[in-house]
């Protein structure tokens, strides 16, 4: 699969014998394929969760009458990175589908005799431009924490492979301790866990946002929309409101302190506690669950006049607005909450100054509550302080390598990491009765990581073997 363009409409192209299967799985066309080379407007859904990803045009090109000469399919979707990423992830979760290597379609087309020489010349330049951009992007990422992480995995895998190879090629003649393999066992296991955790953490982030996803939640009359507008109207913020195409939420992308932020207002929580609109609540909660940061807006005039009761009130409010941590340690859940939530006590201009001050003190002293800011969207009193808190939060989140901006490159990384984890399970499967096949698992895993960090050749593995072991025969 392969994606062209970064504009209004993105074209994701799939080529190869599995294309018809892919088309069926992504569009729910179980019975028939669309007529060849005819655009069809379809809902494009995740093949496993059946979640709607976008509505777009799909086209079916049975081979040999296609660009590559093979069966292929195209998905014309909205050009936002969020949608593209979601579609690529959906595709990547299908068996036998992987991101195309740069220039691979052209090569396939060429081998199938589908391209004239001039076309190849032109496409060569295009690929060049694309890979240049990707290369630069990859370099930027490789400089960061993510890069260090991948490099670290790669070098640990290299070492694992080298030690298994040393055991295979030399242990019969040399003093290679049996303990070597036990070490590899635990290293492989650790790597698997780490990569899996990384994939799990990253998933949410990658799926829907282009930047740190901040969600505004709270009751309708709390002033969520005012907060959105206030934040959007700040001259320093670069704002481009996008009406939601696939979900009934309002989104705006902002630049807060130099960090990309996708701000969305959940309409689903507009009702009270006993509302019948359960579906709306459920979706809003889901949204909150997926957010990096939730701004819980409270109407300050609703706060208890006795400041000592404010913490309890706010706990109750949060437990309604926020999804409950499922099982586990409540302490832990609360800690996680306070990292990911900011309380915005709006309409502060309508609260007496004395009550405001005493409440603030109470809240500072009470444990387990997220930071709270009094703010008036109306008079913009307190906006500066709130923005400072928000900015430091966003900064922390962006510093976290798992909250980086999603991109095609990242979707590719993700696919390689997934394949890497799968390959590592082959190691454990064969460890005790066929070390050659076990080693093949580690080698495959390294090859996949190598597609991100750079190819690892046999010589590098041998270098480690000779560095770590005294091989004398």
């Amino acid at each position: 699969m392969r994606c062209h363009g970064r504009c209004g409409v993105a074209v994701v192209r799939v080529s190869g014998p599995a294309s018809s299967m892919v088309l069926r799985n992504m569009t729910g066309l179980t019975q028939t394929l669309p007529p060849p080379r005819t655009a069809l407007l379809r809902r494009i859904t995740d093949p496993h969760t059946k979640e709607l990803l976008d509505r777009g045009l799909v086209l079916w090109f049975p081979g040999p009458h296609s660009f590559t000469g093979e069966d292929s399919a195209e998905f014309h979707v909205h050009g936002g990175p969020a949608v593209i990423t979601a579609v690529l992830q959906g595709l990547g979760s299908l068996k036998g589908v992987r991101p195309a290597e740069a220039g691979e379609f052209t090569r396939r087309a060429f081998h199938a005799g589908k391209l004239g020489l001039t076309e190849v010349e032109g496409l060569g330049d295009l690929i060049h431009a694309e890979t240049e951009a990707q290369r630069r992007q990859a370099l930027r990422q490789m400089d960061g924490e993510l890069g260090h992480l991948y490099q670290d995995w790669s070098s640990r895998l290299k070492r694992c492979l080298a030690h298994v190879e040393a055991f295979i090629d030399f242990s019969e003649d040399e003093l290679i301790e049996d303990g070597v393999l036990n070490q590899v066992d635990s290293s492989v296991h650790r790597l698997q866990t780490e990569i899996e955790r990384h994939l799990g953490d990253e998933r949410r982030g990658e799926r829907l946002r282009n930047g740190v996803q901040v969600v505004i939640a709270g009751a309708t009359n709390a002033g969520k929309s005012s907060l959105l507008n206030t934040l959007c109207q700040r001259p320093a913020a670069i704002v481009s409101p996008i009406p939601g195409t696939t979900r009934d939420v309002v989104e705006a992308s902002l630049d807060i302190g130099g960090f990309p932020v996708l701000l969305s207002d959940t309409a689903g929580l507009r009702d009270g506690l006993d509302s019948v609109e359960r579906e709306g609540v459920r979706r809003a909660r889901q949204r909150v669950e997926q957010a990096d940061l939730t701004l819980v807006v409270v109407d300050s005039t609703q706060l208890p006049t006795e400041p000592k009761q404010a913490p309890t009130f706010l706990q109750g409010y949060l437990s309604i607005v926020l999804p409950q941590p499922s099982g586990g340690n409540p302490e832990e859940g609360r800690e996680a909450t306070s990292d990911r939530v900011l309380l915005v006590l709006n309409k502060s201009d309508l609260v007496p100054e004395a009550q405001k001050e005493r409440t603030e003190r109470e809240l500072r002293e009470s444990l387990g509550l997220p930071p709270a800011c009094f703010l008036s969207c109306h008079t913009t009193t307190g906006l500066g302080d709130f923005l400072a808190v928000l900015q430091s939060r966003v900064k922390t989140l962006c510093g976290n390598p798992l909250s980086g901006a999603p991109s095609l490159t990242q979707a590719r990384h993700r696919a390689h990491l997934q394949q890497s984890v799968q390959a590592l399970s082959q190691y454990h499967q064969y460890r005790n009765h066929d070390l050659a096949l076990a080693a093949e698992g580690v080698r495959l895993a390294l090859t996949h990581i190598g597609r991100i960090t750079g190819r690892v050749g046999a010589e590098e593995i041998l270098d480690i073997v000779f560095r770590d072991f005294c091989i004398g025969k």
Binding site: L435, L437, G472
Partner: protein, 673 residues
Amino acid sequence: MLARKLPLILHNLPWSVSSRAGSDLARRHYDVIVVGGGHAGTEAAAAAARVGAETLLITQKIATIGALSCNPSLGGVGKGHLVRELDALDGLCGRAGDWAGVHFSILNRSKGPAVWGPRAQLDRERYRQFIQSELLSTPRLTVLEGSVEELLVSQSNPNEPGHHRVTGICLVNGSQPILSSSVVLTTGTFLSGSLFMGQTTTPGGRIGDAPSCSGLSHTLRETLGLRVGRLKTGTPPRIVKESVELSLVQIQTPDKEPTPFSFLNTHTHCKPEEQLPCYLTHTTPGVERVVRESLHLNCHIQQDSKGPRYCPSIESRVLRFPGRQHQVWLEPEGLTSDLLYPQGLTMTMPPDLQLRLLREIPALHRAEIRTPGYGVHYDFVCPTQLNPSLQVKSTQGLFLAGQINGTTGYEEAAAQGLWAGVNAARAALSLPLLALCRTQSYIGVLIDDLVGRGVTEPYRMFTSRAEFRTSLRPDNADIRLTPRGFEEVGCVSLRRYKEAVRVRDSLQEGLAALKSVTLSSTRWREKLGNISLSESRNGSLNGLDLLQYKDVSFEMLAAIFPEHLSPYLEFSQRLNIEAVYRPHCEKQSREIERVQEEESLSLPPDMDYLSLPTSLSSEVRELLDRVRPNTLGAATRIPGMTPAAIVHLLHYVLRTAQRNQHTGQRVKAACKP
């Protein structure tokens, strides 16, 4: 110092099977001349003759043809793969090993069939006899004793400066040149070789043999302009067996049932019970002390040329990994030999210190040395100057094989020898030259690594070098190579071909039969006893599925379905392996296809990358110009190559190929699955 030998035609050695004399004596033109009678030279000469070329093998001493200059063993992990492949292409060394082996074992028995390492300790005498008698009974092959003075090449063509063509060789004292269409040089360590022991240095390539003529080295460097590097290696002292305290060593016994190397042999010459043991002992701190105290007397160690990291001298072992015990294997040299070969004790210090060192090891405390260890420095030709056919790119008809290309080891030398011999013969017979793909064989991996990447230290085969190790197993070398060796290469006898085809077809049928026997998992459990089977989707499992379980064997299934499976009992081990490995091989097949597709597109050797009329960046141009990849596949493996550049190259190559369909001799890269 140069021992001058008169050319002597071999015609009455005692074991000569069909000694050939008469008309060949006066022959002054051959299709192929092979220089050198080591592992590369003997395989090259035999292969060239099998392909159909009138071949002359020239060696300094006929008596040393087939001599094992270093360790008395063949095969091992990776190296055993090469022996099996050589045998599949009808080479000599597999059968010679079966004839001469006195201790057979399969290394890595517990680590999976893809990395099994068939190995044998050899009787030196028997090995030499076998090789010599094989060569003498090979039709179209003449053996001549002599020293080559000069390689004859044509004047360089004014239209193609730097390009030559081989015309033959001149012997020392030879009155007339001997002409040939192709020459295969397999001079081993003799190319500007010098021997080191302590502080003395003498010219030569092997102790007891005269040095090769310096003329050859001069021609390669000066006339042909080839880049030459220097490498070193060494050999341990040989110990008198009687002087070893065998009660102080561990005994390592061979396999009870020896497994032959050759696909043609069902058993080895040596009877199972007649096999000899090997012995294991260890170094002591005293050994390290002697090494350190003698460093100032050790020229070899002080030289900075590259030695192998995996076959290091005891000096470099204790210097790199101090304070450890190192293993020393004492290996028999033959059934009647009174010597032991101490594997792991290569050393180059003065002989008196060698003795002192040995005696620091308890079992060797009164050891006697028959011949001391020594080191060798020698020239090698940077192998990136060769095509995958092993022909020198700039010199038509000149082929190089063995240590001259920077490799180490008998098996590595033999593998190149066979392939160089095949192509030397094909060039002489005006047949297209051939390449072996790395997706298909270890020999292909070896040659591709050499000509594609070059060497920085003596190159030895390891299984980890083969990225398609799962498919390239010792058990299936015949199926991988024998049919092609007969149908396309022409180096395989009809008898062997027929056998390989029979085996291939039977395996196919056997696998089909396994697939055809299906039962529900419950029924299988009833029949097989207490075996844990995972439930399958539709409830039924076939024989192939069952063989995925490590406790199930083909024999067990054949007992349940005798009418279907017993015809294939002869192949039960191979069917067990095929069944387990097949899914993994299929997984690799896409990658293999891609590599093969790219390997089949050869890049012209004289391509002017710097002014190629296509949009390539100057970095890429320089990269290509420096490495000069032979194929598009080799180009993709160059670090720093961009996908865009590959597309441009692809385009260029196809366009050029269309234009030049009828002209030029191209290396035909045949990588058919």
